[in-house]
Structure formats: structure tokens, C-alpha cells
């Protein structure tokens, strides 16, 4: 009962913001690259439902376009984590106890020991602030998350009878990992992917807020908040709406992750009740 409610609410929120991002490619209420100083700092009205910023840009339009940036950065960062982390985790599990396993897992521990935001700041400081560097910085910290998750799950799968059967039939560790282990950890990957996705959105917002993420004129939620910093005391709407967009997107993804976990992993659901 509760599981499906989480999933519905989370899915709905996620769908709304994804849809806003997709629609923004074809249509936005106002062009976000056009400045209209005459209409600056307007409070919400029928013409501008969420008001305008200090350049007269429509905030609703900026949030729609900003959703693109946030979602794109987070998706690619999760992609990096999956593409690099999953093979590492599979390899470590297939050769459990070997030197390779040891090196992979110690490397993971090391990345975990670093405060991720700090290193993201350092990467963007050295290589310059851009959306691409923000993606890399966030993506690196997704690698150990997926590697560890997959290794843990794969280790228990390797003891199963069907894996033994596959070995007897002559399949090597690479084929077994690809054909028997991977399909059985997909559910876990979906759930963890959703959670890392929401963390990626938060991280991207934080990086752009301090000016190290997407650069102008690309709108981003974090930078909208940074721009609002000096003006939100007399124009609160400048800060409230972009912040709500981040909050609701992250909340939606987290609820969806919880809901998916309950749905995809019935054992866990029974254990929790």
C-alpha cells in the first residue's frame, strides 16, 4: 500500500519535471536568452506565473530550461558511475580475494574517504567551471557506489546453483558475469541509479550555486539561486521557486527510489513489515 503511494507520488513529481525539460526544447513561455529590463523583478502575475528576475527573464521559463541542465548533468553522471562501476564490481566479485579485487575495493574506499563536494570543487577549480567538468566531478563519485553495490550482490549470486551449472557447461567468468550475474543485479541498479540521480541533482545545484557548474547563458537552478542571493530579501520569489524546483525533483526521485525498491525487491518488503 505505502510502497505504491510513494511510487505514484515520486513518479508524478519526476514526470512533471522531466516533461517540463522536454517541453522546453519545443516551447517556453518566454525566451530565456532575451533580456527585458523593463519587466525586471516582477512579482508573480498572470503574465509571469512565477515572476521575473533582475534581467526581466521569466522565472517559469528559466526553471523549465534549467530542468534540462540539472537532469542532463545528473543522468550523465549516473551513467559514468554505471558504465565504469558495474564492470569493476563484476570483475572484483568474479575474482574474489585476488589482487585485482583488493585493488578495486581499496580504490573504492579511498574515493569514499574524500569529501565528494570538496574534490568536485577542486576539479572545477583546476580544469575550469563548466557543466562538463561538473558531470565528471559528480560522476567519479558514482563509480565506487555502483562497484561496491554490484560486488556485494554478485558475491552471493556466484554461490548459486545456476552459476555452477554455467561453469560446468564451460562458460568463463566474463560470460557468466554478463549472462547470469548482471541480469540479476539490474533491479538493484535501477533503485540505486534513482538515488544517485537525485544526489546528482543536489550536487549540480550546489556546484552551480557557487559558480562552478553550468555557465551563463545556460540557465541552471543553482545559479538562479546564486543570482537571487543579493535580492531575495526584498524579492523572495527569486529564491523560492528555483529552490522548490530542486526540492520537489529530489523528493520525487527519492520517493520513486523507495517505491521501486519495495516493488522490485519483494524480500525486502516482507522483511520490513
Amino acid at each position: 500500500m505505502r510502497a505504491s503511494r510513494n511510487l505514484w507520488l515520486g513518479g508524478l513529481l519526476t514526470a512533471v519535471f522531466s516533461l517540463a525539460a522536454v517541453i522546453s526544447f519545443a516551447w517556453v513561455p518566454y525566451d530565456v536568452t532575451k533580456l527585458d529590463i523593463g519587466a525586471k523583478l516582477l512579482s508573480p502575475s498572470w503574465a509571469h506565473p512565477l515572476g521575473t528576475d533582475h534581467f526581466g527573464r521569466d522565472i517559469l521559463s528559466m526553471i523549465m530550461v534549467g530542468a534540462r541542465t540539472s537532469i542532463a548533468v545528473a543522468i550523465v553522471a549516473v551513467g559514468i558511475g554505471i558504465v565504469l562501476g558495474v564492470p569493476l564490481g563484476l570483475a572484483a566479485a568474479a575474482r574474489k580475494g585476488s589482487l585485482m579485487d583488493e585493488v578495486i575495493m581499496r580504490g573504492n574506499d579511498l574515493i569514499f574517504a574524500f569529501p565528494s563536494l570538496l574534490i568536485a570543487i577542486m576539479i572545477t577549480a583546476v580544469f575550469g567551471a563548466s557543466a562538463v567538468n561538473a558531470i565528471i566531478a559528480i560522476g567519479i563519485f558514482n563509480i565506487p557506489v555502483f562497484a561496491r553495490l554490484v560486488r556485494g550482490a554478485a558475491l552471493s549470486l556466484w554461490t548459486r546453483d545456476y552459476v555452477l551449472a554455467a561453469r560446468v557447461s564451460g562458460k568463463g567468468p566474463v560470460r557468466i558475469s554478463a549472462e547470469h550475474i548482471l541480469p540479476n543485479v539490474t533491479n538493484l541498479l535501477i533503485v540505486q541509479g534513482t538515488i544517485q540521480f537525485s544526489l546528482g541533482i543536489l550536487a549540480e545545484a550546489a556546484l552551480s550555486y557557487v559558480g562552478l557548474g553550468a555557465q551563463p547563458p545556460l540557465p541552471s537552478w543553482g545559479r538562479m539561486l546564486a543570482d537571487a542571493q543579493t535580492m531575495f530579501s526584498f524579492k523572495p520569489h527569486l529564491a523560492i521557486f528555483p529552490g522548490l524546483a530542486i526540492l520537489l525533483t529530489v523528493l520525487g526521485l527519492n520517493l520513486m527510489g523507495d517505491g521501486l525498491r519495495d516493488l522490485l525487491d519483494p524480500r525486502l518488503r516482507r522483511a520490513q513489515r
Binding site: 579511498l110 574524500f114 574534490i119 570543487i121 542571493q229 529530489v250 527519492n254
Partner: protein
């Protein structure tokens, strides 16, 4: 126990070594000559060479790494390219804002999360539990710098209980200084408290399902007595892990929050150094913060072994 501590010490040293190499190489790949940057366009070649020598920019990669690391070990963090003052002095001044802020936030997070998590677990499935879990979902999803801005709007601008930013300074006395750290600490603590409360609750629920709790109940203890006497201590392991991890979030999060409140701590210093391409400051401060985080994780590992003797054997 001694073997356990020694083993942890070896891995601590190894982590620090690898971390320092990574950070060093990072800054090495940056193009540009700091000496040329400091002296400007009209610098003479021999002055440049002298300054390079003074900054330790000559020599092989290995020599430069060694001079940086051995300097850090003796408290010499290099000289800021822009301020021309020792980085160690700059760090020492600002640390007395960043460190108290992180500890203040950690204390708040723990003080909020423990009772809330225990309360939710003891009222499992009730309206209280559902309400708390809903609130913590919000707490986890809220970007802390935005929450900080909202608090400024409410408590500084509308209610005027706190100032909107800046630091009173420890010279102004303990309470005024703590007051200027209060909103930043709450902003930092709330998301962490939400995570911690959730972990506390689920860990407690796990241990409450154990056989020894049933034994305790059968022996005549009430549910509350069993919870306080037997379940709580056993539920603390995952909670301690998270508290350790949170310290690194608080350090990194502090960097952002200091910017919201214009606090002159390490975080603001890092950003000013980035803007000025003063990479020796970035390098040394990041290394210092990573050191702090690795040290705390080490302390947490030791704390485990004290709480749970079984872990000593496994290591």
C-alpha cells in the same frame, strides 16, 4: 585490540599518501607559472628564477612533491601566491570558524536525530512515525544552501532574531560568536539529522526484531526497557558509521554554507583562492580537509571496536 589499531593505522597512512599524490598531481597539471603570475608581465627573467626557487617550483616532480609533503608535515603549507603570507597562518585564522561550525552542526544533527529516530521506532507504524518519516524525506531532499536562504529570510530579515550573515568574532565573546554560527549550523545539520534519524529508526527496528529482545521481553522487561537496555547499544553501529561519514559532508557542506552567510572560514578562502588562481592555497587546504576527514573515519573505526568487541577479531 592493539593489532586492530595498528592495522587501521597502516591503512590510514596509505590513504593519506595516495590522497596527497592525487591532490598534488591535480594541481601539477594546471598550466601556467605561478611565479610569472605573482610578478606580473614586466618581470625580469632572473627575478622569476629566484622566486621559482623560493617557492620550490624548480626540480623534478618527485622533488617538488617531497618538498610539499615534508613542508606540510612540519607545518609549512607554502606561501600564498596572492597574499604572500604563509598558508598555515591563513588556515589557522579561518579554522576557528570552520571547525566550530562543523562540530556545532554535528552536535545539532546528533541531538535532533537520536530522540526523533528513537521516538519513530518506538511508535512504529503510528501517525507519529509516518509524520516523522515524511518530514525526514523533505529534510533529505532540501538543498542546504536554499534552506539557509529561507532561514535568513524568516529569522534574519523578517523576525530579526539573527543577523543575515558575517561573523561576530570570538573576541566579541562566546555567545555572540555562537549566535552568528547558529543559522549556518542549523542549515548544515537539518539534512544530516534527517538521514541520521532514518538510520537510527531502521537500525533500532532491526535490533528490536532480534531474539535477545524477545528473551528480554519474556524475562518481564517492558518494550521501552528492552529498547533502552538492550536494543539501543546494538543499534548504534550503523549510526556511528553515518556520523563519521557525515563529518565529511559537513566539512564540504560548510564550504557552501559559509558562502551563504559570508562567514570568513576555510570555505570562503578556498573560493577566493580559486578565483585568484592561488592554487597552493587550494592544494594545501584541500589536503588538510581530506586529512581531517580520514582522521575522523579512523576515529570512528576505533570507536566501533570499543562499542562492539566482535569487530576487533574480524579485522
Amino acid at each position: 585490540m592493539l593489532r586492530f589499531v595498528l592495522g587501521r593505522l597502516v591503512s590510514l597512512t596509505l590513504s593519506l599518501f595516495v590522497a596527497s599524490v592525487v591532490i598534488f598531481l591535480f594541481v601539477e597539471v594546471v598550466p601556467g607559472d605561478p611565479a610569472a603570475y605573482m610578478l606580473g608581465l614586466n618581470a625580469q627573467e632572473d627575478t622569476l628564477a629566484a622566486l621559482r626557487e623560493q617557492l620550490g617550483l624548480n626540480g623534478t616532480l618527485l622533488e617538488r612533491y617531497w618538498s610539499w609533503v615534508s613542508g606540510m608535515l612540519t607545518g609549512d603549507f607554502g606561501t600564498s601566491y596572492t597574499y604572500r603570507t604563509p598558508v598555515a597562518e591563513m588556515v589557522a585564522d579561518r579554522m576557528w570558524i570552520s571547525l566550530p561550525l562543523a562540530l556545532y552542526a554535528l552536535a545539532l544533527s546528533t541531538l535532533i536525530a537520536f530522540p526523533v529516530g528513537i521516538w519513530a521506532a518506538s511508535k512504529r507504524g503510528s501517525a507519529v512515525d509516518t509524520g516523522i518519516m515524511g518530514l525526514t524525506q523533505l529534510g533529505v531532499a532540501i538543498p542546504n544552501f536554499w534552506f539557509a536562504m529561507l532561514m535568513v529570510l524568516i529569522f534574519a530579515i523578517n523576525l530579526r532574531w539573527f543577523s543575515a550573515g558575517g561573523f561576530a568574532g570570538w573576541d566579541a565573546g562566546f555567545w555572540p560568536a555562537m549566535k552568528s554560527l547558529t543559522l549556518p549550523a542549523i542549515a548544515l545539520a537539518l539534512p544530516q539529522a534527517s538521514i541520521l534519524a532514518r538510520v537510527m529508526r531502521s537500525s533500532l527496528l532491526d535490533t528490536l526484531g532480534e531474539d535477545y529482545i524477545r528473551t528480554a521481553r519474556a524475562k518481564g522487561l517492558t518494550r521501552a526497557q528492552a529498547l533502552w537496555r538492550h536494543a539501543l547499544r546494538n543499534a548504534l553501529i550503523p549510526v556511528l558509521t553515518i556520523i563519521g561519514l557525515q563529518f565529511s559532508f559537513l566539512i564540504a557542506g560548510g564550504i557552501i554554507i559559509e558562502n551563504v552567510f559570508y562567514l570568513p572560514g576555510l570555505g570562503r578562502m578556498i573560493f577566493q583562492s580559486i578565483a585568484a588562481r592561488d592554487l597552493i592555497v587550494v592544494e594545501s587546504v584541500v589536503m588538510l580537509l581530506v586529512f581531517a576527514v580520514i582522521l575522523v573515519n579512523f576515529a570512528v573505526d576505533i570507536a566501533y571496536a570499543v562499542v562492539d568487541p566482535r569487530l576487533r577479531v574480524r579485522a
